[in-house]
Structure formats: structure tokens, C-alpha cells
């Protein structure tokens, strides 16, 4: 069976506010898909509808072809999920919490015991297995939650910003855990607003903003779309730089195909051409004595596309 997730016209309205607007998205096969978007874009709303925590105003969400709205029990049977930061009954230990999760999933006691060892080892919580969850930090609880999501070795894993609230070490560890989850016949759908996390972990990315899907493509295609011709460069100046100066002395440099202001002392250029053109642009800008203090190719291809698409939406 090929794992799949699908949103068909998935829409959520809260009064007059549309949090998710007719999302049509089909993820099919074993891979990790990043669900990117700024805060309030509609990522969590979509994932909550996939797990039937909230109900669509229109449309339907399918897990492995089964509607989460029509049969949440069957749909979630092959899915492990982590939405927001769930709390576990504080007096339970990780072993008991996973036992409860396994029991409710219909796993046999010996399967639960064996998988508990594996998943707690995976999230580095083995030494806390018999301590009460109520005493754990947020990061430790999140690891137990991830372990619970993986307990039944599901084909579909839905993770909603799994590294939220973790310290930098925790973030790195969660990233490594998610990378470890990528295996044959497993589909991972992970929301994040951390671009580097998506670049490090995911094979494909779906970008959402204002409740609408902006694009869905593989990371390699995203890179191709941007790096084939244009490069984004961040400029920093000693002091404030006027719009006139940007227009007359920066935008007119050969090779520069676009200029936008980031703030008073920073601007972003789009340079069309390869490294040679970049070098020539830098020389021209330095010669113009504009007080340039740095010239730095910006971000990954994904970040660039992210900013472009988000700014289109804002425009």
C-alpha cells in the first residue's frame, strides 16, 4: 500500500475569517513533505482537519484514502500525529502513556513493550521511562509525544512544528529524529516555519499563505527555478540609503534585474547571471562609494522562493 494524504477543497472559516481556503493537495508515496508558511498561514488549521480535531467548513481530508471526517478511527489507525504540543496525563509515566496509546490502537502487550523500548530510545527518553510526565520539561514532553506518534510504526506521520518550544539542542535532536523517520513506505507531512528545518529534512515542500496553497514542488525543482538564472544578494550600507540612490545608482548597474528595500540600511538585489556578473556588480557598487559594508548572497533557493511568494501575496 502506498501511503497518502489528500486535501480536497479543504476550507475552514471562523466567522468571516477564512483560515484555509479550498486547499487541494495530494501527497502520495514515501517521502517527507514540508508544509511551510508564516504564522497564521493556515498550516495548523489544515493539519487539525487531517486529524479531525477541527471540522472543515467545506471539503474533506483523506489519510490513506479514508476520510478523516467520515471515519476518523479508521483514518487515524495508520497515522501517527503530533499537533501543537499535547499534554499527557501528568501522573502517567512515558511507559504508561505509550501503553495507553498502544492499547487504544489495539496493539498487543508484547508489541507495545517492544516498540516502547525502540521509540523511547529513538527520542532519547529511555532513562526517564518510569518517571511521571508531570515533572518533565516541555522539550521532554514533546519527545514523549513524538514517541507516542511513532509507537505503532505508522505509514503516515503528521507533525505540526515538532521543534516548537525546544532549546537549540532539542531542535537539532528533533530534526535528526525526523530524518531518522524517513524510511521505505512512510509519508511524513511536517509543518514548519523554519526554512532550514525543511531544507535539511524534507524532499518536497508545500507553501501556504493566507490559507491558500502557493506552490507544491520538490526541493530540487525549487532550487532549479531560482538558481538557473538569478541570485539574490543582500546589501548593507553604512547609513540610510535613499530610494533615489537605489534607483539611480544600484538598479542601473548591468546585471542587476531587481532591487528592493529591506530597511533603511539594507536592500536586496536580484542579479541575473553567474558568479562573474556578481563580481562585476560588486566592483561597480564599491566604485560608486555608496558606503557599502556587505554584499552577501542571501538564503537558500527555498528561502528565496518563500519570500518571493509571500511578498506576492502581501502585494
Amino acid at each position: 500500500m502506498t501511503p497518502s494524504l489528500e486535501a480536497v477543497g479543504l476550507t475552514k472559516r471562523f466567522g468571516s475569517f477564512t483560515a484555509l481556503d479550498h486547499l487541494n493537495l495530494r501527497l502520495d508515496g514515501a517521502k517527507c513533505v514540508g508544509f511551510l508558511g508564516p504564522n497564521g498561514a493556515g498550516k495548523t488549521t489544515a493539519l487539525k482537519m487531517f486529524t479531525d480535531l477541527i471540522f472543515p467548513s467545506e471539503g474533506e481530508a483523506f489519510i490513506n484514502g479514508i476520510s478523516a471526517q467520515k471515519d476518523r478511527k479508521l483514518a487515524l489507525a495508520s497515522c501517527g500525529d503530533l499537533i501543537e504540543t499535547p499534554e499527557i496525563y501528568p501522573s502517567l509515566t512515558p511507559r504508561e502513556a505509550l501503553e495507553m496509546s498502544g492499547d487504544l490502537r489495539g496493539m498487543r502487550p508484547e508489541e507495545i513493550a517492544a516498540r516502547t523500548e525502540v521509540v523511547l530510545e529513538e527520542v532519547k527518553m529511555s532513562e526517564w521511562v518510569d518517571q511521571k510526565v508531570g515533572r518533565f520539561s516541555k522539550g521532554m514532553k514533546q519527545r514523549v509525544n513524538i514517541a507516542a506518534a511513532l509507537l505503532s510504526d505508522p505509514d503516515v506521520v503528521i507533525l505540526d512544528e515538532p521543534s516548537t518550544g525546544l532549546d537549540p539542542r532539542g531542535v537539532a535532536e528533533v530534526r535528526s529524529i525526523v530524518q531518522g523517520l524517513k524510511k521505505e513506505n512512510r509519508l511524513i507531512f511536517m509543518s514548519s516555519h523554519i526554512l532550514s528545518e525543511v531544507v535539511d529534512v524534507c524532499d518536497e515542500v508545500a507553501l501556504i499563505d493566507h490559507g491558500k496553497l502557493l506552490f507544491y514542488d520538490s526541493l530540487s525543482n525549487v532550487s532549479k527555478r531560482l538558481t538557473s538564472n538569478a541570485t539574490s544578494v543582500e546589501l548593507a550600507f553604512l547609513g540610510p540609503i535613499s530610494d533615489d540612490t537605489l534607483a539611480s545608482q544600484v538598479a542601473t548597474v548591468p546585471g542587476v534585474s531587481g532591487v528592493s528595500r529591506v530597511n533603511a540600511q539594507h536592500a536586496r538585489l536580484i542579479i541575473t547571471g553567474g558568479a562573474e556578473t556578481q563580481s562585476q556588480v560588486l566592483e561597480r557598487l564599491a566604485a560608486a562609494k555608496l558606503g557599502l559594508v556587505s554584499f552577501e548572497p542571501s538564503q537558500s533557493a527555498l528561502e528565496e522562493l518563500y519570500l518571493q511568494e509571500i511578498s506576492k501575496g502581501e502585494g
Binding site: M1, D28, L104, A149, S152, D153, N185
Partner: protein
């Protein structure tokens, strides 16, 4: 809007480990863990402390005033003893356990975010609701049994071999029905809120004095039988200890010709009120919970 045809339903069972149990089985499984959580919680210690304090006061009063005519009268027979101390006290114990174990049972799932853990599992909301209800019921029964044990210990001291009359068993069964009805109502209020504090406050205010005040007002001002108020049915818990059941309706004329009417439920009415409350509130509570979103 682009319409995309859904993927074909997955053939066969999921490849994931395990075969998800039936809805009722999941409810029982969940109740086991929920009860474990209750028994280890501070709220359980609080509830047991409340019962222990009530029991300690009762034991002290009985032993200190055992020579007084009143106490002598109460300890003269098991019906008099349990009619006063069991029937009078168990209603309070049930109300407190309902507030403590049920007040935030559903609201807490939203506020404490434990619902996100549970509802991420392949489980129907009905299983969660029923499972939590069963756990609250079991924890409340433990509290009621503790109160009963204190009374029986005192009864054994004062009544000897007459400490366990059959009427106590009957009254205990009625008390359990009252507990079911009260928990049903408490769960309904709990499922109407996403904030534990509001849920507990509303339940506490209503059951500790709200219903009693409404009952008194209805009886004295509107002059109708308050058959629709759950606490009215509580009176029947004491009936097994009475040789003659109280009159259903009594009208007395006081000073200046002021007529006062008091009502007592019949057995049938009491059972009907309790069963009705249980059924209606269970359905309504589940209805609310099924529609509540984890936003």
C-alpha cells in the same frame, strides 16, 4: 475551485501495527488509565480528605454526645442511625465527588491540552466521553465507599450485629443511581465549556446551593412540584430507612393564614428523575463534545 478526485480507499487493513478495538472497548481501556490518573492525583487526596473530615466530625460528635437523648435515639436502631448519617451525608459526598472528578473532566481536555494527545489517536469522541465518565464514576464510588466504611465502623460500635441492615443496601443502590444522574449532569456542564475553572464553578454553584435555592423558590413562589430538579430526587435515598414514606404533598397553614406547601418525591418519581437526568444529560453532553473543536 479545482476539484480533485480523492485517492481510492486503501485496500485491506492498515499496515500499521495493531487492529483498533471497538468503541466500547476503547472506552473501558481509557477509563482504566484515567482512573489511574485520578487515583494518583491531588484531587483524589482532596476528595478522600473531605470524606475523612466528615467522618472524623461524625465520629467525634457521636462519641462526645453519646449520652445525650438525641444521639441515644439515633443509635437506638440501624434505620435511625443510617437514615440520619448515611442518607444525610452521602448526598454531600456525591456532590463533592461529582465536582472534583467530573467538573473539569471534559473542559480540562481542552484547557490542559490532554485532548490533543487523546484525539490524535484512532478513537471516537464517544469513547473518550464514556471512558472519562466511567473513570469519574469509579473514583466517586471509591469516595462513597470510604464514607460508607466510616459509617459502618461507627455503626458496628453502636449497633453491634445490626450494623448492616438490608435497607442500607437498598439505599446504597439508590445513591449510586443518584451519582450516575449527577455525574451525567456534571459532564454535560463540563462539555459546554473549554475552561476548567468556569466548568467547575458552574457545577459547584449549581449543585452546592443553586438547585436548592431554585427548588425552594419554585415550591414557595410558583407552588409547583420541582420534579425537574435533580437534587429534589435525592430525598429518596433516605426512604429505605423509613417505616412510613412521607406524604407526597403537605400543606400547612402558618401564622396569619400563610399556607406553605412542601413536596416529597415518590419512589417512582425519584427514580424517573434520576434516570431521566442521566439519559438526557449523557446524550446532550456527548452531543456538545462531538461538536466541540480543538481550536
Amino acid at each position: 475551485m479545482t476539484t480533485v478526485a480523492p485517492l481510492a480507499p486503501a485496500p485491506g487493513a492498515p499496515t500499521t501495527i495493531g487492529q483498533v478495538p471497538a468503541t466500547l472497548e476503547q472506552a473501558f481501556l481509557l477509563s482504566r488509565y484515567q482512573l489511574r490518573d485520578y487515583l494518583r492525583s491531588r484531587r483524589f487526596v482532596l476528595m478522600m480528605s473531605i470524606v475523612a473530615v466528615i467522618g472524623a466530625i461524625l465520629t467525634f460528635v457521636l462519641s462526645y454526645f453519646h449520652t445525650s437523648d438525641t444521639v441515644q435515639g439515633l443509635t437506638a436502631s440501624s434505620n435511625a442511625f443510617y437514615g440520619s448519617f448515611w442518607a444525610g451525608g452521602v448526598g454531600v459526598v456525591i456532590i463533592f465527588s461529582g465536582i472534583i472528578f467530573g467538573g473539569d473532566a471534559i473542559a480540562g481536555e481542552f484547557q490542559n491540552k490532554t485532548g490533543y494527545f487523546l484525539m490524535g489517536l484512532p478513537i471516537r469522541r464517544a469513547s473518550v466521553y464514556v471512558g472519562k465518565f466511567l473513570a469519574a464514576l469509579a473514583a466517586s464510588i471509591v469516595a462513597v465507599l470510604f464514607y460508607l466504611a466510616i459509617l459502618i465502623a461507627n455503626g458496628a460500635f453502636y449497633l453491634g450485629s445490626d450494623a448492616l441492615p438490608f435497607s442500607l443496601g437498598e439505599s446504597f443502590a439508590i445513591a449510586l443511581l443518584y451519582l450516575l444522574a449527577l455525574l451525567g449532569a456534571v459532564f454535560l456542564f463540563s462539555s459546554m465549556f473549554k475552561n476548567s475553572l468556569y466548568a467547575v464553578l458552574v457545577v459547584a454553584v449549581l449543585f452546592l446551593f443553586g438547585f436548592s435555592i431554585i427548588q425552594a423558590l419554585i415550591t414557595s413562589l410558583v407552588k409547583i412540584e420541582p420534579w425537574f430538579i435533580i437534587t429534589y430526587a435525592q430525598n429518596v435515598i433516605s426512604y429505605p430507612f423509613l417505616s412510613t414514606l412521607p406524604a407526597h404533598m403537605t400543606t400547612t397553614t402558618g401564622p396569619r393564614g400563610l399556607r406553605t406547601t412542601t413536596y416529597n418525591p415518590t419512589y417512582l418519581e425519584g427514580f424517573a428523575i434520576m434516570a431521566g437526568y442521566f439519559l438526557l444529560t449523557a446524550v446532550a453532553g456527548l452531543f456538545f463534545f462531538e461538536r466541540e473543536e480543538f481550536t
